[in-house]
Protein backbone atom coordinates (compact mmCIF):
# COMPACT_ATOMS: atom_id res chain seq x y z
CA UNK A 1 0.00 0.00 0.00
CA UNK A 2 1.15 3.54 -0.70
CA UNK A 3 -0.07 6.88 0.56
CA UNK A 4 -1.51 9.19 -2.10
CA UNK A 5 -2.38 12.84 -1.62
CA UNK A 6 -5.49 13.53 -3.69
CA UNK A 7 -6.23 17.13 -4.67
CA UNK A 8 -9.79 17.30 -5.92
CA UNK A 9 -11.48 20.42 -7.27
CA UNK A 10 -14.76 20.80 -5.36
CA UNK A 11 -17.72 23.02 -6.14
CA UNK A 12 -21.26 23.00 -4.83
CA UNK A 13 -23.18 25.85 -6.51
CA UNK A 14 -25.74 25.78 -3.66
CA UNK A 15 -23.04 26.58 -1.07
CA UNK A 16 -19.83 27.76 -2.72
CA UNK A 17 -19.18 31.06 -4.46
CA UNK A 18 -16.23 29.61 -6.34
CA UNK A 19 -14.46 26.24 -6.68
CA UNK A 20 -12.00 25.15 -3.98
CA UNK A 21 -9.47 22.37 -3.57
CA UNK A 22 -10.33 19.43 -1.34
CA UNK A 23 -7.17 17.63 -0.15
CA UNK A 24 -7.28 14.03 1.07
CA UNK A 25 -4.70 11.41 2.01
CA UNK A 26 -5.64 7.85 1.10
CA UNK A 27 -3.83 4.51 1.17
CA UNK A 28 -4.14 2.46 -2.01
CA UNK A 29 -2.23 -0.17 -4.00
CA UNK A 30 -0.09 1.20 -6.86
CA UNK A 31 -2.07 -1.10 -9.16
CA UNK A 32 -5.40 0.32 -8.00
CA UNK A 33 -7.19 2.67 -10.34
CA UNK A 34 -7.61 6.39 -9.73
CA UNK A 35 -11.33 5.64 -9.34
CA UNK A 36 -10.52 3.39 -6.35
CA UNK A 37 -8.73 6.29 -4.66
CA UNK A 38 -11.72 8.59 -5.29
CA UNK A 39 -14.02 5.88 -3.88
CA UNK A 40 -11.82 5.77 -0.80
CA UNK A 41 -12.49 9.50 -0.29
CA UNK A 42 -16.20 9.25 -1.04
CA UNK A 43 -16.86 6.14 1.04
CA UNK A 44 -14.56 6.72 4.02
CA UNK A 45 -13.57 10.39 4.28
CA UNK A 46 -16.13 12.76 2.72
CA UNK A 47 -19.42 11.36 1.47
CA UNK A 48 -20.43 14.72 -0.02
CA UNK A 49 -17.95 14.31 -2.90
CA UNK A 50 -19.99 13.94 -6.09
CA UNK A 51 -18.87 12.00 -9.14
CA UNK A 52 -20.35 9.91 -11.94
CA UNK A 53 -19.35 6.33 -12.53
CA UNK A 54 -21.23 3.26 -13.58
CA UNK A 55 -19.47 0.19 -14.95
CA UNK A 56 -16.06 1.25 -13.58
CA UNK A 57 -14.35 -0.80 -16.30
CA UNK A 58 -13.79 1.65 -19.15
CA UNK A 59 -16.93 0.70 -21.06
CA UNK A 60 -19.70 3.11 -20.04
CA UNK A 61 -17.56 6.26 -20.25
CA UNK A 62 -19.25 8.03 -17.33
CA UNK A 63 -16.17 8.79 -15.18
CA UNK A 64 -14.26 11.01 -17.59
CA UNK A 65 -12.45 13.76 -15.68
CA UNK A 66 -9.21 15.71 -15.74
CA UNK A 67 -6.46 13.75 -14.03
CA UNK A 68 -3.21 15.69 -13.62
CA UNK A 69 -4.47 18.20 -16.16
CA UNK A 70 -5.46 15.74 -18.92
CA UNK A 71 -8.79 14.16 -19.78
CA UNK A 72 -8.85 10.54 -18.66
CA UNK A 73 -11.28 7.88 -17.41
CA UNK A 74 -10.70 7.45 -13.67
CA UNK A 75 -11.41 3.71 -14.00
CA UNK A 76 -8.86 3.43 -16.79
CA UNK A 77 -5.81 4.91 -15.12
CA UNK A 78 -3.66 3.19 -12.52
CA UNK A 79 -2.32 5.01 -9.46
CA UNK A 80 1.27 4.08 -10.35
CA UNK A 81 0.89 5.72 -13.79
CA UNK A 82 -0.61 8.96 -12.51
CA UNK A 83 1.09 9.63 -9.16
CA UNK A 84 3.48 12.58 -9.28
CA UNK A 85 5.50 13.36 -6.14
CA UNK A 86 2.94 11.43 -4.09
CA UNK A 87 0.05 13.51 -5.44
CA UNK A 88 -2.74 13.21 -8.02
CA UNK A 89 -4.80 16.24 -9.08
CA UNK A 90 -8.39 15.67 -10.16
CA UNK A 91 -10.71 18.23 -11.78
CA UNK A 92 -14.01 18.17 -13.69
CA UNK A 93 -14.05 18.27 -17.50
CA UNK A 94 -13.57 21.68 -19.12
CA UNK A 95 -16.11 23.44 -21.32
CA UNK A 96 -19.25 22.06 -19.63
CA UNK A 97 -21.08 23.58 -16.66
CA UNK A 98 -20.16 22.02 -13.33
CA UNK A 99 -23.28 20.69 -11.59
CA UNK A 100 -21.36 19.55 -8.50
CA UNK A 101 -17.73 18.63 -7.88
CA UNK A 102 -16.74 16.24 -10.69
CA UNK A 103 -20.19 16.10 -12.30
CA UNK A 104 -20.69 18.29 -15.37
CA UNK A 105 -23.84 19.00 -17.37
CA UNK A 106 -23.56 16.61 -20.33
CA UNK A 107 -26.74 17.83 -22.05
CA UNK A 108 -25.00 20.23 -24.51
CA UNK A 109 -22.66 17.37 -25.42
CA UNK A 110 -25.55 14.99 -26.12
CA UNK A 111 -27.44 17.69 -28.04
CA UNK A 112 -24.48 17.90 -30.44
CA UNK A 113 -24.46 14.10 -30.62
CA UNK A 114 -28.15 14.03 -31.58
CA UNK A 115 -27.67 16.80 -34.18
CA UNK A 116 -25.65 14.53 -36.49
CA UNK A 117 -28.36 11.82 -36.63
CA UNK A 118 -26.45 9.01 -34.89
CA UNK A 119 -28.50 6.18 -36.37
CA UNK A 120 -28.69 4.28 -39.66
CA UNK A 121 -30.63 6.18 -42.32
CA UNK A 122 -31.92 3.90 -45.05
CA UNK A 123 -35.55 3.78 -46.16
CA UNK A 124 -35.07 1.03 -48.74
CA UNK A 125 -36.43 -2.46 -48.11
CA UNK A 126 -33.72 -4.49 -46.31
CA UNK A 127 -35.18 -7.69 -47.78
CA UNK A 128 -35.99 -10.82 -45.80
CA UNK A 129 -32.70 -10.73 -43.87
CA UNK A 130 -30.21 -8.10 -42.68
CA UNK A 131 -28.45 -5.58 -44.96
CA UNK A 132 -25.24 -7.23 -46.13
CA UNK A 133 -21.84 -5.53 -46.13
CA UNK A 134 -18.39 -6.70 -47.24
CA UNK A 135 -15.63 -7.00 -44.60
CA UNK A 136 -13.77 -4.19 -46.42
CA UNK A 137 -16.77 -1.87 -46.22
CA UNK A 138 -17.20 -2.72 -42.53
CA UNK A 139 -13.52 -2.04 -41.86
CA UNK A 140 -13.86 1.47 -43.36
CA UNK A 141 -15.55 2.81 -40.22
CA UNK A 142 -14.44 0.22 -37.65
CA UNK A 143 -12.32 2.68 -35.64
CA UNK A 144 -15.16 5.12 -35.04
CA UNK A 145 -17.54 2.39 -33.78
CA UNK A 146 -15.44 2.25 -30.59
CA UNK A 147 -16.67 5.59 -29.19
CA UNK A 148 -18.27 5.37 -25.72
CA UNK A 149 -19.43 9.01 -25.57
CA UNK A 150 -17.34 9.82 -22.50
CA UNK A 151 -16.75 13.41 -23.79
CA UNK A 152 -13.00 13.22 -23.07
CA UNK A 153 -12.25 14.29 -26.66
CA UNK A 154 -14.80 17.10 -26.97
CA UNK A 155 -13.86 18.66 -23.62
CA UNK A 156 -10.14 18.56 -24.46
CA UNK A 157 -10.73 20.64 -27.59
CA UNK A 158 -9.79 24.36 -27.43
CA UNK A 159 -12.37 25.16 -30.13
CA UNK A 160 -15.09 23.68 -27.90
CA UNK A 161 -13.85 25.64 -24.85
CA UNK A 162 -14.08 28.83 -26.92
CA UNK A 163 -17.43 28.06 -28.51
CA UNK A 164 -19.85 25.58 -26.96
CA UNK A 165 -21.94 25.60 -30.15
CA UNK A 166 -19.15 23.71 -31.98
CA UNK A 167 -20.38 20.12 -32.47
CA UNK A 168 -17.09 18.78 -31.15
CA UNK A 169 -14.93 15.75 -31.92
CA UNK A 170 -17.25 13.11 -30.39
CA UNK A 171 -20.23 14.11 -32.56
CA UNK A 172 -17.98 14.14 -35.65
CA UNK A 173 -16.64 10.68 -34.75
CA UNK A 174 -20.22 9.41 -34.43
CA UNK A 175 -21.12 11.03 -37.76
CA UNK A 176 -18.05 9.42 -39.36
CA UNK A 177 -19.28 6.03 -38.18
CA UNK A 178 -22.44 6.42 -40.31
CA UNK A 179 -21.17 8.61 -43.17
CA UNK A 180 -18.68 5.94 -44.22
CA UNK A 181 -21.08 3.02 -43.64
CA UNK A 182 -21.97 1.60 -47.08
CA UNK A 183 -25.48 0.71 -45.82
CA UNK A 184 -26.31 4.27 -44.79
CA UNK A 185 -27.96 6.87 -47.03
CA UNK A 186 -27.91 9.91 -44.72
CA UNK A 187 -24.37 11.12 -45.48
CA UNK A 188 -25.50 14.22 -47.40
CA UNK A 189 -27.65 15.44 -44.50
CA UNK A 190 -24.91 14.80 -41.95
CA UNK A 191 -22.29 16.52 -44.10
CA UNK A 192 -24.59 19.53 -44.35
CA UNK A 193 -24.79 19.74 -40.54
CA UNK A 194 -21.02 19.30 -40.21
CA UNK A 195 -20.25 21.75 -43.02
CA UNK A 196 -21.85 24.75 -41.33
CA UNK A 197 -20.08 27.36 -39.21
CA UNK A 198 -20.21 25.22 -36.05
CA UNK A 199 -19.15 22.05 -37.82
CA UNK A 200 -15.83 20.43 -38.70
CA UNK A 201 -14.13 23.63 -39.86
CA UNK A 202 -13.78 24.77 -36.24
CA UNK A 203 -11.29 21.93 -35.74
CA UNK A 204 -7.75 23.37 -35.56
CA UNK A 205 -5.95 20.01 -35.79
CA UNK A 206 -4.60 20.32 -32.25
CA UNK A 207 -4.68 16.52 -31.63
CA UNK A 208 -5.81 16.91 -27.98
CA UNK A 209 -8.85 14.75 -28.82
CA UNK A 210 -6.77 11.90 -30.24
CA UNK A 211 -4.50 12.00 -27.19
CA UNK A 212 -7.44 12.10 -24.74
CA UNK A 213 -9.54 9.28 -26.24
CA UNK A 214 -9.49 6.34 -23.79
CA UNK A 215 -10.47 3.98 -26.61
CA UNK A 216 -7.54 4.98 -28.82
CA UNK A 217 -9.76 6.24 -31.65
CA UNK A 218 -7.92 8.18 -34.35
CA UNK A 219 -10.21 11.16 -33.76
CA UNK A 220 -8.30 13.86 -35.64
CA UNK A 221 -7.93 11.53 -38.62
CA UNK A 222 -11.69 10.86 -38.62
CA UNK A 223 -12.37 14.61 -38.50
CA UNK A 224 -9.91 15.10 -41.38
CA UNK A 225 -11.74 12.48 -43.44
CA UNK A 226 -15.08 14.20 -42.83
CA UNK A 227 -13.50 17.54 -43.84
CA UNK A 228 -12.31 15.95 -47.07
CA UNK A 229 -15.73 14.44 -47.73
CA UNK A 230 -17.29 17.91 -47.38
CA UNK A 231 -14.60 19.62 -49.46
CA UNK A 232 -14.62 17.09 -52.32
CA UNK A 233 -18.24 15.96 -52.10
CA UNK A 234 -16.99 12.39 -52.23
CA UNK A 235 -17.55 9.79 -49.50
CA UNK A 236 -14.85 7.17 -49.91
Amino acid sequence: MIKVHLKIKRFNPEKDKKPWWGEYDVEVEPTDRVLDAIHEVKWNIDGTLALRRSCAHGVCGSDAMRINGRNRLACHRLIRDEIQNGQITIEPLLGLRVIKDLIVDMEPFFAHYRSIMPYLVNDTDPGPRERLQSPEDRARFDDTTKCILCAACTTSCPSFWARGEYVGPAAIVQAHRFIFDSRDQGAAERLEVLGDSNGVWRCRTVFNCTEACPRGIEVTKAIGEVKQAIATGKVR
Partner: protein, 137 residues
Protein backbone atom coordinates in the same frame (compact mmCIF):
# COMPACT_ATOMS: atom_id res chain seq x y z
CA UNK B 1 -15.41 38.50 -22.25
CA UNK B 2 -15.93 35.81 -19.61
CA UNK B 3 -15.88 33.19 -22.41
CA UNK B 4 -12.52 34.56 -23.58
CA UNK B 5 -11.09 34.52 -20.05
CA UNK B 6 -12.32 30.97 -19.37
CA UNK B 7 -10.92 29.79 -22.74
CA UNK B 8 -7.52 31.35 -22.04
CA UNK B 9 -7.54 29.84 -18.55
CA UNK B 10 -8.51 26.40 -19.92
CA UNK B 11 -5.85 26.63 -22.65
CA UNK B 12 -3.14 27.34 -20.10
CA UNK B 13 -4.30 24.78 -17.53
CA UNK B 14 -4.91 21.81 -19.85
CA UNK B 15 -1.83 19.60 -20.00
CA UNK B 16 -1.99 18.78 -23.70
CA UNK B 17 0.96 17.49 -25.65
CA UNK B 18 3.03 19.30 -28.28
CA UNK B 19 0.02 19.89 -30.57
CA UNK B 20 -1.72 21.85 -27.79
CA UNK B 21 1.23 24.13 -27.07
CA UNK B 22 1.97 24.68 -30.76
CA UNK B 23 -1.70 25.64 -31.25
CA UNK B 24 -1.39 28.14 -28.39
CA UNK B 25 1.82 29.63 -29.82
CA UNK B 26 0.20 29.70 -33.28
CA UNK B 27 -2.63 31.81 -31.89
CA UNK B 28 -0.30 34.15 -30.00
CA UNK B 29 2.00 34.58 -33.02
CA UNK B 30 -1.01 35.16 -35.29
CA UNK B 31 -2.34 37.88 -32.99
CA UNK B 32 1.15 39.39 -32.76
CA UNK B 33 1.46 39.58 -36.55
CA UNK B 34 -2.03 41.09 -36.74
CA UNK B 35 -1.02 43.72 -34.16
CA UNK B 36 2.05 44.56 -36.28
CA UNK B 37 -0.09 44.90 -39.42
CA UNK B 38 -2.47 47.29 -37.63
CA UNK B 39 0.45 49.39 -36.30
CA UNK B 40 2.13 49.31 -39.72
CA UNK B 41 -0.96 50.41 -41.65
CA UNK B 42 -1.77 53.07 -39.03
CA UNK B 43 1.85 54.31 -39.09
CA UNK B 44 1.96 54.55 -42.87
CA UNK B 45 -1.48 56.19 -43.01
CA UNK B 46 -0.36 58.86 -40.56
CA UNK B 47 1.68 60.44 -43.39
CA UNK B 48 -1.60 61.48 -45.01
CA UNK B 49 -2.64 63.28 -41.83
CA UNK B 50 0.58 64.93 -40.71
CA UNK B 51 4.20 64.51 -41.73
CA UNK B 52 5.25 65.55 -38.21
CA UNK B 53 3.28 62.73 -36.58
CA UNK B 54 4.63 60.33 -39.19
CA UNK B 55 8.24 61.37 -38.49
CA UNK B 56 7.66 61.08 -34.75
CA UNK B 57 6.29 57.57 -35.22
CA UNK B 58 9.31 56.62 -37.33
CA UNK B 59 11.59 57.87 -34.53
CA UNK B 60 9.59 55.78 -32.04
CA UNK B 61 10.10 52.68 -34.20
CA UNK B 62 13.85 53.12 -33.70
CA UNK B 63 13.65 52.73 -29.91
CA UNK B 64 14.93 49.54 -28.16
CA UNK B 65 11.38 48.48 -27.28
CA UNK B 66 10.36 48.38 -30.94
CA UNK B 67 13.63 46.65 -31.87
CA UNK B 68 12.78 43.86 -29.43
CA UNK B 69 9.28 43.83 -30.95
CA UNK B 70 10.85 43.39 -34.39
CA UNK B 71 12.73 40.31 -33.17
CA UNK B 72 9.48 38.89 -31.79
CA UNK B 73 7.76 39.72 -35.08
CA UNK B 74 10.43 37.88 -37.10
CA UNK B 75 10.06 34.81 -34.87
CA UNK B 76 6.26 35.04 -34.97
CA UNK B 77 6.16 35.27 -38.76
CA UNK B 78 8.52 32.34 -39.27
CA UNK B 79 6.79 30.18 -36.66
CA UNK B 80 3.30 30.99 -37.96
CA UNK B 81 4.29 30.18 -41.55
CA UNK B 82 6.07 26.90 -40.75
CA UNK B 83 3.49 25.66 -38.23
CA UNK B 84 0.67 26.69 -40.58
CA UNK B 85 2.26 24.57 -43.31
CA UNK B 86 2.43 21.61 -40.89
CA UNK B 87 -1.26 22.00 -40.04
CA UNK B 88 -2.24 22.38 -43.72
CA UNK B 89 -0.37 19.18 -44.68
CA UNK B 90 -2.03 17.22 -41.84
CA UNK B 91 -5.44 18.64 -42.86
CA UNK B 92 -4.96 17.66 -46.49
CA UNK B 93 -3.56 14.22 -45.61
CA UNK B 94 -5.40 12.98 -42.49
CA UNK B 95 -3.86 9.54 -42.99
CA UNK B 96 -0.53 11.07 -41.92
CA UNK B 97 -1.84 11.71 -38.40
CA UNK B 98 0.46 9.06 -36.91
CA UNK B 99 3.41 11.12 -38.15
CA UNK B 100 2.16 14.21 -36.32
CA UNK B 101 4.78 14.04 -33.58
CA UNK B 102 7.51 13.75 -36.23
CA UNK B 103 5.88 16.66 -38.10
CA UNK B 104 5.93 18.69 -34.88
CA UNK B 105 9.63 18.02 -34.30
CA UNK B 106 10.44 18.83 -37.92
CA UNK B 107 8.48 22.10 -37.69
CA UNK B 108 10.38 23.09 -34.52
CA UNK B 109 13.74 22.28 -36.18
CA UNK B 110 12.83 24.31 -39.30
CA UNK B 111 11.66 27.25 -37.17
CA UNK B 112 14.93 27.22 -35.20
CA UNK B 113 17.03 26.93 -38.39
CA UNK B 114 15.22 29.87 -40.00
CA UNK B 115 14.62 32.05 -36.95
CA UNK B 116 18.02 31.75 -35.21
CA UNK B 117 20.18 33.36 -37.97
CA UNK B 118 17.46 35.93 -38.75
CA UNK B 119 17.16 37.01 -35.13
CA UNK B 120 20.92 36.99 -34.57
CA UNK B 121 21.52 39.21 -37.64
CA UNK B 122 18.70 41.56 -36.64
CA UNK B 123 19.83 41.68 -33.01
CA UNK B 124 23.43 42.43 -34.02
CA UNK B 125 22.15 45.23 -36.26
CA UNK B 126 20.13 46.71 -33.41
CA UNK B 127 23.03 46.42 -30.92
CA UNK B 128 25.27 48.16 -33.42
CA UNK B 129 22.70 50.92 -33.95
CA UNK B 130 22.22 51.53 -30.22
CA UNK B 131 25.72 50.92 -28.87
CA UNK B 132 28.04 51.00 -31.92
CA UNK B 133 30.24 53.86 -33.09
CA UNK B 134 27.35 55.43 -35.02
CA UNK B 135 24.99 55.30 -32.02
CA UNK B 136 23.21 58.56 -31.33
CA UNK B 137 24.02 60.01 -34.75
Amino acid sequence: MSALISTVRASLSYRGREGHWLWLLHRVSGLGVLLFLILHVAGMSSAFISIEIHDRLLEMYKTPLFSIGELALAFGLIFHAVNGTRIAILELKPELWQKQQLATRLAIIIVVLLAAPTIIIMALGSINAFFGPAAGH
